[in-house]
């Protein structure tokens, strides 16, 4: 079965290549399609994520030999150095100087804020491969800014009901005190309380400094919840998972959270302490579909580690762009048509079926509830539940569509 699926994928790739070659004959003289990547490659906490997105997108584009509708696809990388103003300047450079057809970026929300306005005003498609601010595809939405990753709300909206349904009636919330933290906790809270759950305590430590969760975990223990629902990523996530165990809270309550808490990027540093955590996310490496299987195989062969949700988003972004370019017949001069093509395509991604919702420009995707468990002497993932076709309401976005 395994072999069969791989063969199917291979056939699909070959087919796409032939198709591409066929069209190429008619449009040989055309200049390449240029895609500008604006990501923090050299500084700050998101270097690993930036590289994972870029590498995975390359994997997706390699499948078609960097060709779409007969046009070569060229990737231009620019480094934001984790500074919003640099991100914006680099985006402008890509658009005005290098004449890219679309932008892909960034990772951090501050950089997104800086890029958003520019893309909106310059009417250049900006495809967000990882940043979850609800407003960007909600009240602030722009016809030019599309998102292939997720909105914060989208990740957690159904988790409240799920948790309440599983008997976690008293939950403590814990996230950094910033926009994403509040959006994810808020998105969880409302459906959860509507489903009969109680929030026993909410803790928001200050963002961005050496953090020891000891003080916060102490407060949470005093509140005696059934579970803690959290949002952390990167080093703080590692810290929290370890300290949760160290303080013995794992014997009294369940640790749950937006799935970045136990991302494949963090698992090596979390060790066995990461086992038994419930996560909810748009991706988990254990997703059982042929695209994901193929993606993970190729990624692991090349980079000797498990591809993360960031990589999966990068891969799917590459696929979506490729599909849209093909749909548009390789024409990129009309940016509005390009966006329309993005709206029109439907693909099977690593996360299952994907499309861009024309009403919000946010992706419509499946959301997975999973649990980490010991598999041999390593921690792995087990999918508990799959919530299909999760689509954001317009949330004040007036794109219509």
């Amino acid at each position: 079965m395994h072999k069969m699926r791989r063969a199917a994928v291979r056939a699909a790739i070959v087919g796409a290549a032939i198709l591409g070659a066929g069209v190429a004959g008619t449009a040989q003289a055309q200049a390449p399609v240029k895609i500008g990547l604006v990501l923090p490659y050299s500084a700050g906490p998101f270097v690993a994520i930036a590289n994972e997105i870029t590498d995975s997108m390359a994997l997706a584009l390699e499948e078609s030999g960097y060709m779409a509708a007969g046009r070569k696809i060229e990737i231009l990388r620019e480094d934001t150095t984790h500074k919003p103003d640099v991100a914006q300047a680099k985006a402008k450079k890509l658009v005005f100087e290098d004449k890219v057809d679309m932008l892909v970026g960034p990772v951090a929300s501050a950089e997104l804020t800086a890029l958003f306005d520019f893309a909106h005003q310059a009417k250049v498609p900006l495809i967000i491969p990882n940043a979850g601010d609800n407003e960007v595809t909600g009240e602030k939405c722009s016809p030019w800014v599309l998102r292939t990753s997720f909105s914060n709300d989208q990740i957690v909206r159904d988790m409240g009901r799920w948790m309440a349904g599983k008997g976690f009636k008293k939950v403590a919330l814990l996230a950094f005190d910033y926009k994403a933290g509040h959006q994810l906790m808020g998105g969880f809270k409302k459906p959860f309380t509507e489903a009969g759950g109680t929030i026993v305590t909410e803790q928001y430590p200050p963002f961005g400094r050496l953090s020891d969760f000891g003080p916060w975990l102490g407060k949470i223990r005093d509140a005696k919840p059934d579970a803690v629902f959290t949002f952390f990523a990167g080093p703080p996530a590692t810290l929290l998972v370890q300290q949760f165990k160290e303080f013995g809270l794992d014997r009294e309550m369940k640790l749950a959270g937006a799935g970045w808490l136990v991302s494949p990027l963090s698992l090596p540093s979390q060790g066995k302490a990461a086992a038994g955590v419930i996560g909810v996310l748009n991706y988990v490496p254990a997703i059982d579909n042929p695209v994901n299987k193929s993606y993970q195989e190729r990624f692991q062969a090349k980079f000797k580690r498990t591809g993360s949700e960031f990589g999966a988003q990068g891969y799917d972004t590459g696929k979506l762009i490729h599909a849209a370019l093909t749909q548009a017949g390789g024409k990129t001069d009309d940016k509005a048509a390009l966006v329309k093509a993005m709206h029109a395509v439907r693909i099977e991604g690593t996360r299952g079926p994907l499309r861009i919702d024309p009403r919000t420009n946010n992706v419509v995707q499946d959301i997975y509830v999973f649990e980490t468990e010991l598999q041999g002497d390593k921690v792995g993932y087990k999918v508990l539940d799959r919530i299909r076709d999760v689509q954001d309401p317009p949330n004040g976005c007036k794109l219509g569509g």
């Binding site: 270097v47 300047a89 501050a110 800086a114 306005d117 005003q121 910033y178 200050p206 961005g208």
Partner: protein
């Protein structure tokens, strides 16, 4: 340090400006962005040069005034809807006011303690904006208004035109600060720097002069901040990190702390080098760090001192040839 005769100084200023405009003409889009960034950095560095080079006050929290200028512009211009020109003036005033309050206590301290208190206050302000959600916290805030110069046919939303505008402001700041440096006030700051006890014995209320210098530096840094906010129409706490303060301090030292033109040239070198290196490698910070250390090691009196030395040597050789 005595400034060189004004005609040669202004000639160098003009040369720098011409070089900048020449680069602006020759470069593509991103080059113009670099010109704008250089101009803003130069203004910030010149303001710190007034403190470090003239008054001898080494601040490691200068980015706070830069950031406060940017945030104040965002607050007045966007949140309160004031006209951009008024908001900009008010933002500069806020920078000055903050410097007045901080300076009131800080100028009593000397040496490394002054460095530490400026760092502490800078981090405090940074922490406030990191937390406060009405300005977007870590995510920052967009939609900062730009000055409307359509009356003179300038559109600041156009990066190329904005670069020229920033350059013009930098030139203006240079002229003003140059005037200040050459005035009795500037002369007195240098006197305090060279010998505080003597200045006091001559009747100089030393604290008040230092405070005045601190306020002027804060106001000019805030002005640079308003430009930075207008350039990207965006503000975030990244504008006021202590590492930015450190970088600007290095620019000032590399330029020759007391020389407005030296530090401006160092700002250009800094931005140019960073751009060049970052296009070559993702590990450009390593190269920058090494260059940093080497420059500080060999800097002596900085670019300014090196050029003066060169000039003296040329003059000496010419004199020798004439004599021969």
């Amino acid at each position: 340090m005595t400034p060189p005769a004004s005609h040669s100084r202004h000639a160098v200023a003009l040369l720098l400006a011409v070089l900048a405009v020449g680069y602006w003409l020759a470069s593509g889009y991103y080059g113009k962005e670099l010109v704008a960034e250089t101009a803003i950095t130069a203004i910030l560095a010149m303001s710190l040069s007034l403190l470090v080079g003239q008054a001898g006050l080494v601040s490691l929290g200068h980015a706070a005034y830069f950031g406060i200028g940017a945030y104040a512009l965002a607050g007045f211009g966007q949140k309160l809807g004031w006209p951009p020109a008024l908001a900009m003036a008010a933002a500069v005033a806020v920078g000055a006011l903050l410097a007045l309050v901080v300076g009131w206590v800080a100028v009593r301290l000397a040496g490394v303690f002054f460095i530490m208190i400026t760092l502490a206050v800078g981090e405090m302000i940074h922490a406030w904006f990191l937390k406060d959600r009405s300005f977007g916290g870590v995510g920052g805030m967009s939609g900062v208004p730009r000055l409307d110069l359509s009356g003179i046919g300038v559109d600041l939303a156009d990066p190329a035109q904005f670069a020229l505008f920033a350059l013009a402001v930098a030139l203006l700041v240079y002229l003003l600060l140059d005037r200040l440096v050459l005035s009795p006030f500037g002369q007195t700051l240098r006197a305090i720097h060279q010998n505080e006890e003597r200045a006091r014995a001559l009747g100089c209320p030393v604290g008040r002069y230092k405070l005045a210098a601190f306020v002027v530096a804060g106001a000019v840094a805030a002005l640079a901040g308003t430009l930075a906010a207008q350039r990207s129409a965006f503000v975030s706490p990244e504008l006021m990190t202590w590492t930015l303060s450190g970088e600007i301090l290095i620019v000032v030292i590399v330029g020759g702390s007391g020389s407005l033109l030296g530090v401006s040239a160092a700002a250009a070198l800094w931005i140019g080098l960073r751009h060049q290196l970052s296009t070559m490698t993702d590990h450009w910070m390593l190269a920058m760090g090494v260059i940093f250390v080497v420059l500080v090691l060999v800097a002596g009196d900085g670019i300014d001192g090196a050029l003066r030395g060169l000039w003296r040597r040329i003059a000496a050789r010419r004199a020798a040839r004439r004599a021969a």
